[in-house]
Subunit: 208 residues, 2 copies
Amino acid sequence: MTEATAKPSAKLKLLDAAMSVIRIKGFSATSVDELCAAAGVTKGAFFHHFKSKDELGVAAADHWSETTSAMFAKAPYHDHADPFERVLAYVALRKDLLAGSLPEFTCVVGTMVQETYETSPAIRDACDRSISAHAETLEADIEAAMRDRHLRPEWTAKSLALHTQVVLQGAFILAKAKGGAEIAAESVDHLSRYLTLLFSPPKVERQS
Amino acid sequence: MTEATAKPSAKLKLLDAAMSVIRIKGFSATSVDELCAAAGVTKGAFFHHFKSKDELGVAAADHWSETTSAMFAKAPYHDHADPFERVLAYVALRKDLLAGSLPEFTCVVGTMVQETYETSPAIRDACDRSISAHAETLEADIEAAMRDRHLRPEWTAKSLALHTQVVLQGAFILAKAKGGAEIAAESVDHLSRYLTLLFSPPKVERQS
DNA sequence: TTGACTACATACCAACCAGTCGGTATGTAG
DNA sequence: CTACATACCGACTGGTTGGTATGTAGTCAA
C-alpha cells in the first residue's frame, strides 16, 4: 500500500496538497477544486481516488499520521539512555519545530477535528487515532521514566502523554491568534518545567 | 452600545445563534442562511446589521468576550482572600465547566481563529483580543500570588496566564477528538498540579 | 401630515460548490 | 489481438453560497 516515492501519483499529490491547504484555510473552507489546482490534477482524478471530500479528510488524517510518525521515529531524541531525558528532548524538539511559518508547524488533525467533530464521525475518529497513536509513543518513555525514578503518582503515564499533546494543540491555537509562536514557545517551556518538577522533586518525603 | 436584554433584537438573536452554531459546525461551514434560520430572522436582517459574514465573525468574537467576561466576573472564585487560591479556584471552575455537551463548553473564538487566522485578519484580531483580555484578568491574581509567596521565577505572570488558556484550548481539541471531556479534565488536573508545584515549592533554597 | 430614519422582510443574482458522467490513455493477463 | 482494469481528464449539473436591490411597517420630530 505504501507509495513509491519515485513517481508522484495523483493520489499522493492530492494528499500532500491537502496537508498544506487544510492547514492554511481549514477543511471546510478548502474546496475540492482548490485542492486539485494545488495538486496539479483534475477533479476526475480526485473522485477516482476518493469517493467524497470527507473520504479525503480521513485519508489526509491517515497520511498525516504516517508522515509525522515516520519523522518522529527517526528523530534523535530517542538516543538518550535516560527515559526522562528522552521525554524532555521530545518536548525540546517540539519547541524547535515552532520556528517557521504557522501553516508549516501547526497540526492538520487538530485543525480538522475542530471543524468536523460533530458533522463527520469518520474524520473525527481518524484525527483521534492520529493524536492518540502519537501520544502512545510518548507513554512508553514516560512509563519507563516513572519506573526509573520510582514514582507512584496520582496521575497516569497516559494522561501525561496526552497532556503534552493538549499543550501543543493549545499552543497552536494561541500562535494562530497572536500571529506568532512566541507565547506558544513559552507555553512549551511551561510544559517542560512541569515535567521537570514532576520527575525531579527538589526534596520531598517519600510516602509508604 | 450594550443591548437592552428586554427586547431580543434580530442582531442579538443572530449573535446568540452564532455562539451555538459556530461551536457545532465551525465558522466556514456555517452558512448565513443557516444562521438566519437558527436565529429566526431573515437574510435582510442579517445584512442590515452586518456588512458581511466576516463582520459577523468579528461581532461574534466580541459578543463572546462580553458574555464570558461577565460570567467570569461574577463567579465566586474571586472571593478567596489568597490570590493563589483564586487562581486555583479559577482552574477548578474551568474543570467544572467541562460537564455538559461539547458544543456547550468549547470556545467560540478558539474554534474561529483556527479557520480564519490566515484568511481574515479582522476575525483573528478579535479572537486574540478575546483570549488575551481574559488571560489578563488572571494575570493580576498570578502577579499578586507571586508577590505573596515571594517568587522571583524565570517565567512571567503573563506567560503563565496565557499557558492556562493554552491548556484549556488544547483540552477542547482533545475533547472533540475523543468525543468526551474525560482527558480534557485530566489535563486541567495537570495544569492545577503544575500551578501548585510552582507556588508551593516543597522546600527550596531562596536565591539573592 | 409629512418626511427622514431604523429595522426588518422578500425576491433575486452571479459565483461557487461537491459530485457525476462519458471518454481516453496505459497498462496487463491470456 | 482480445478483454478487461486502473488512472486520469474536463465538461457539466443541480443545488448552495454570500451578497444585493427593493419594499414596507413602525417611530420620531417638525
